[in-house]
Every structure is written in structure tokens, then in C-alpha cells.
Amino acid sequence: MSAEYDVEFVEREDRDARFLVQGITPAFANGIRRAMLADVPTMAIDTVRFVENSSVMFDEQLALRLGLVPLTTPPVGEFVEDDTVTLSIDVEGPATAYSGDLVSSDDLVQPADENVPIIDLKDGQRLEAEADAVLDRGKDHAKHQGGVAVGYRHLQRVAAVEDLPEFEEPDRRIVRGVIEEDGELVPTSEFDHDLSNRYPGQEVTLEDVPNSFVFHVETDGSFSVEELVTRAADTIESRATELENAVQL
């Protein structure tokens, strides 16, 4: 039995996308979602060697903050677990140390955003440190989580049934996600998530479309949405292959 999936993008940006998947079971949809959150490895700082830290924060606090800075994650195969990339930072006050001040030894691993504040340094304070970034999974630490807001909702089918009585006060009908309207996909944000705006004076029915889920995926900048989704599918595939081989023995 091989499943037939149909994917269609509703909204699409580099780090943020909404797409409809048809023909997917709830179990598999949830597997993909969980894999995106916990099983796709990303780079993050894990060890920090402080040369000088005369700021108001302890070394440990700064190390945590540095760890949470999203780093771009190189393509599959460039790195394996246990490989490290060294980043250094040297900022002297009065100034704010930003993620953009991190200097990486590898072009493939750079801070995904330049404007994450690390510490505000006052006159005479200085931060100089060397940090090692490693590849790991969200399961082990949230800093390795590539997907920051990943979820799905049923696609909802809307149909107008009949006109409301003329003098009846229209009720608001709030719905979030994406609706299907005669085969067209419409994000609910287009009508302020309120069906009474789109169908004034009409009674509408709303039903979940079975096995059709609209995923909303947002990444932390480690990689694009496409990378995250394909890598999540790859992790499930590799575990299925592993099980297949283990059962055959």
C-alpha cells in the first residue's frame, strides 16, 4: 500500500509557510509535526570558553544566552554529530553585544539573525569568549529545535445553506486556519477570522475535511521551511528503514 499525498502551499516565505496536505492520516501528520520539533538536528553553541567576562552576568548565564542564538545549519552530509564549529565574540563596553558580533570559523554556520542581544555592556566591561557549536536534536535541548511554531489544523469546508431571517442579529462565527470554498483555499485572516464577514446574512455550515491538514511551519532561521519538512520526513524514513532491517534479522 502506498499513500498518495497532495501538497499545496497557501502562504509561503522563507521562514514561515502554510501548506495543505491531503490524504494524510492524523497519526502520520502528528509524526511529521513531532519530527520537525524534536528530531531535526540543528547547530547551536554548546560549550563556551570565557577569556574575559566583566559583564553583570555570570558565565553560565551568558553561555545559555549564546546557546539560544539560532545558527544556520549546513546541508545534510556536511556535518555529523560531534563535529564542532568555533565562534568567537569580543565586545567592549559601552556597547551591546549582539549575535551579529559572533565571528564564525565556518561560512556555513553563521548566526541566523544579527540582532539578538546577548548582553548590555557598560563602560569598562568586556566580553571575550570562544564558543563551540555542535549538531544536536531538539529532543536533547530546545536550542537545537529548528521549528519554533509548528502545528496543523483540519482544512475546513464552508458552505452557505440559507439566508438568515431578515431582522435577526448576526452572530459572529470565528474560525481559524484555512477554509475550502468551492475548491479554493482561503486563509481565514482574509476575512478577519469571522465567517459572518464573508457570508453576511447567511447561515453557513462548517465541516472538517477528513485527512486534510493545513500545516503551519515556522523555523528559527536555521534553515528554510522546505529543508525542515524534508528533513523531518527523512528522519521518519530512516527510522522505518532501521526497523525494517532490525525485524529481518
Binding site: V7, A27, A38, E226, A240, E244
Partner: protein, 94 residues
């Protein structure tokens, strides 16, 4: 992925799948239930802090004449095919 059979009979199999969590187990269970010869499939997993059995245990019951291990193998193949089909459909749309 370490497998350890905890109970086994002609049509029923309990197997521990070490190192996995709900992500894979629920997909696998869902896929097993789609199988015509599988009459029941479930898995149980305890929290890490609970002590004792914390690895997931999958239980599969099959219709007579079908080895549950074969059903499990077929389900693994199905999951792999699903993942590949999903990735291909996604890449085609991307």
C-alpha cells in the same frame, strides 16, 4: 533501534523498541492498523522518571495464519514508503 521480544505467540507479539518515542510509535501503530491482517495494534510507553519499563512496547495481534513479525515488517515498509511519498509530494509542490 534495539528490538527485544517480550511476549510471542502465533498471532500475538509484544516487542520492545528501544530508543523510540510517540513520534515514531504512533505512526507505526497507525500504519499497522491499516493492515488488513492486523486485528489489533497498540503501544505503551511510560515516562522516563517513572522507573521500570520506560521503553515503548508495541503489541500486535493478527488474524490466524499471519505472523505478527511479518505484519510488523510490512508496516515498517509502509511507513518508509509514506515518508518518501510525503517528501516527494512536498518537493513537487515546493
Amino acid at each position: 533501534m534495539e528490538l527485544r521480544v517480550t511476549e510471542s505467540s502465533e498471532t500475538e507479539l509484544s516487542i520492545e523498541i528501544a530508543g523510540e518515542d510517540h513520534t515514531f510509535m504512533n505512526v507505526l501503530k497507525g500504519t499497522l492498523l491499516e493492515h488488513d491482517d492486523v486485528s489489533a495494534a497498540t503501544y505503551d510507553v511510560n515516562p522516563e522518571q517513572s522507573g521500570g519499563q520506560t521503553e515503548p512496547i508495541l503489541t500486535v495481534k493478527t488474524e490466524s495464519g499471519v505472523d505478527p513479525l511479518d505484519a510488523l515488517e510490512e508496516a515498517a515498509v509502509d511507513v518508509r514508503e509514506k515518508a518518501v511519498a510525503f517528501r516527494e509530494a512536498f518537493e513537487a509542490a515546493a
